[in-house]
């Protein structure tokens, strides 16, 4: 056993900045994604950014020049796109298929770039790149202006939680560096992006191939007084993934039990901060204990913050396993506080090829928990070009829809808007293990009962979840049956004047008619050997 096994106490009252840890490098990290349509020059922009930032080495440039002569789309001139299109299929087809991650840095910060494909069939790869991005660069071809794809990419980026957008209007050289063209695109984008709720939108006119407005301003566009792209990326505020000001929450990832004397719960803190001595609640069990130690190999800590990977030791012997969430009660917004649910409203982005239908069963992975999940209702689908809500029976690949899910056991979660760690999930195919959808927990609907009563559960099982199209249709059939039985009773009462007689006739109608209907249907099938679900559903006639 090595020396670090011995305990040491390292007071760490300050935020975990570089100084507190003795680190030399205080640069921050910004992750961004680039998206655009085919031929907007996305890969060229990234290749050029890497080059401008000094992240392309001489041997790579030599290889690039020989590749450019052979495969380039620039007539033999240096084709920066070939720096980033890594897969053989991509270089052959001259398109980006998969998300590629690129790295470069400036004196102020390190960057991780997700270069993502524009093709609709690779939407899931774009959504993947967006999931960890602090900002998105949206490429627009100055000659073509905004396309349906621009609207689609904006919608996906917004759905994945990206709040800062840079609109890079590329190929300005091909429109004569005309300010009018740029301003028109800038204004049009502000208009179409209005419903998406971005925090900040900045438009920059660029020429990626020649490097205008990338590292420094362009003498060819003196009318543009804003920042060039690299200086702008240096200034964008990266969002902490786990909000520090929210209540403490840590999904337990692994129980560290090397021997009988030590039992720690390892995980990465999703939100808030924790201090030694804090009282914590284990969800979903609800048991309480307090933090006895915050263990790291660099010594015990007094406190720890969101995004840090730690091991917590509790003061009491409580039952905790992977998938549980350690939380602290705190006076924060209800939407940010983890809650335990077995039925949720969620948004899905479908990533698998097979369409998703009501009744389908999956595995859900949320935080570190995994259980079974059933799609119980599809409420609507978002048209990702017009952003309008439309009705849908199924959700096909790349669709964004609003659904209801029922889990096999309750999960601890938050709204996605409050925290992606406990509000984002994936649905996994039970047979193929394919990732079928990305999911986003939505707020509980206002009408929802705080705790489902047995009656509500029974109604939900028979009629479908509250508010679903399925429930509405079944309720209509049932009310029509009741109404027709009442009508029969009423007619009998009017004709005979005997209440008892009317009641018997009404009840007989209610009970006997469906039986007669089923009998007739069975005979009909025998005669015609043909089934028609629509007709059967016309019950109550």
């Amino acid at each position: 056993m090595d020396a670090a096994f011995q305990q040491a106490t390292m007071p760490d009252a300050a935020m975990p900045d570089a100084a507190a840890h003795g680190g030399r490098d205080a640069r921050t990290l910004l992750r961004f994604i680039t998206c655009g349509s085919v031929d907007d020059g996305k890969s060229t922009l990234i290749g050029r950014l890497l080059y401008e930032a000094g992240a392309v080495f001489d041997d790579q440039l030599t290889a690039l020049d020989s590749d450019s002569a052979r495969l380039g789309t620039t007539g033999g001139a240096r084709d920066f796109a070939l720096l980033v299109d890594g897969l053989a299929a991509e270089r052959e087809q001259g398109i980006t298929i998969d998300v590629a991650y690129r790295y470069f840095s400036t004196p102020r910060r390190s960057f991780i770039v997700a270069d993502t494909p524009g093709h609709e069939q690779y939407t899931r790869n774009m959504a993947t790149g967006a999931s960890t991005a602090d900002a998105a660069i949206l490429l627009v071809d100055a000659r073509k202006g905004l396309l349906a794809q621009t609207r689609r990419h904006s919608c996906i980026v917004a759905a994945m939680g990206v709040r800062q957008i840079v609109v890079a209007v590329n190929k300005m050289d091909l429109v004569g560096f005309d300010e009018g063209v740029f301003r028109a695109i800038e204004a049009e984008y502000a208009r179409i992006a209005a419903p998406l709720g971005f925090l900040r939108i900045t438009a920059i006119p660029v020429c990626a191939r020649e490097g205008d407005n990338l590292a420094a301003g362009s003498s060819r566009m003196p009318w543009y007084r804003g920042e060039a792209l690299l200086p702008l990326l240096d200034m964008i505020e990266p969002g902490a993934r786990g909000a520090r000001d929210a209540a403490f929450a840590m999904p337990v990832q692994w129980v560290n039990r090397p021997d009988a004397d030590f039992r720690g719960f390892s995980g990465t803190i999703a939100s808030g901060q924790v201090r030694r001595g804090d009282v914590v609640t284990v969800l979903p069990s609800g048991r309480e204990s307090s933090i006895a130690r915050i263990v790291t190999r660099d010594g015990d800590r007094e406190n720890a913050h969101a995004d840090e990977a730690v091991t917590l030791v509790l003061a009491d012997e409580v039952d905790v396993s992977r998938g549980d969430v350690l939380t602290a009660a705190s006076a924060v917004r209800a939407s940010a506080r983890p809650r335990t649910r077995d039925v949720i409203e969620a948004r899905l982005i479908v990533t698998g090829e097979a369409p998703m239908r009501v009744g389908a069963a999956f595995l859900v992975k949320l935080g570190t928990a995994m259980t079974g999940a059933t799609l119980t209702a599809i409420r609507d689908m978002v048209d990702i070009e017009s952003y309008a809500s439309v009705a849908a029976e199924t959700l096909g690949m790349n669709a964004i829809g609003h659904v209801t899910l029922r889990f096999d056991k309750p999960l601890v979660l938050t709204d996605f808007a409050a925290n992606a760690v406990l509000g984002g999930f994936i649905l996994i195919d039970r047979a193929t293990n394919e990732t079928r959808a990305f999911g986003f927990v939505l707020p509980d609907p206002p009408m929802r009962m705080a705790r489902e009563t047995p009656l509500a559960r029974l109604v939900a099982r028979g009629f479908g979840p509250a508010g679903s199209a399925q429930r509405k249709a079944r309720l209509e059939v049932v009310t029509w049956r009741l109404f027709s039985a009442l009508a029969v009773a009423g007619i009998v009462a009017a004709l005979t004047g005997m209440a008892a007689f009317a009641m018997i006739a009404g009840l007989a109608d209610l009970v006997l008619r469906p039986l007669a209907r089923m009998l007739h249907h069975a005979l009909w099938l025998k005669l015609h050997a043909r089934q028609d679900a629509e007709l059967l559903d016309g019950g109550g006639i």
Binding site: A18, L87, S266, L363
Partner: protein, 300 residues
Amino acid sequence: MTVMPHLRRLEAEAIFILREVVATAGKPVLLYSIGKDSAVLLHLALKAFHPGRLPFPLLHVDTGWKFREMITFRDETVRRLGLDLIVHVNEEGVRAGINPVVSGSRLHTDVMKTQGLKQALDKYGFDAAFGGARRDEEKSRAKERIFSLRSPGHRWDPKNQRPEPWALFNTRKKPGESFRVFPLSNWTEADVWAYIAQEDIPVVPLYFAKTRPVVRRGGTLIMRDDERLPLLPGEGVENRMIRFRTLGCYPLTGAIESEASTLDGIIAEMNASRASERQGRLVDHDGMASMEAKKQEGYF
């Protein structure tokens, strides 16, 4: 609100990945190749599972042509930290007389590394193998997932990779399938050295400049680590101040002339360099997209 500096974020991300594998895999293993990336990976693993011992062994696929200082460093590290190490050699390859000098880099790498690795994984039944590969090293690596699913024959299918949103890794697999897992995916060469300096992680002395015997061959400086490297007519051994940016099989790894004998020196030299890290790795230059082809065949 303070934002975590990027090395802390990278460290936390890697620890999360290491723990996720141990929590979900049946029998994980850490592919230990003795280089600086392996050193960082091992250090992160010690942090992730502290105060416990590593819940998996280390596996070194030995081609028989590693620098002697690498083997010494490996054995010393294992002893110092009390680790379980499995050393696997492809005996069939040895019997067939495969070696980098005569067989060429391509055949040697395929038989002794790729086939050797597959043999070892199958022999011990490992279903998840950690590797120290980084996405900034090579173009096809830039597109590989952190959890890279391999078929029962260890093949990588670049066109059928699972999306990895947030930190939600789909760790489900069928019998016979396995994962290669890359906790350092988002690290760069500069990050690795900055972290080694920050955490004071021991690395093989070959990374530091020293006077060593080299042969100049085809524009590359090859260190003559032992007598097995035959001298061609007209070649002579000279003593030069050199160091290595990456470490592999010694006849396939080019040295660079350097005065950098300290960590600060290495970092300064790297920042000023105009050549990429893998320039000295002869195995990468066996034709275009060659790393992609190797990975599809099961190379990690």
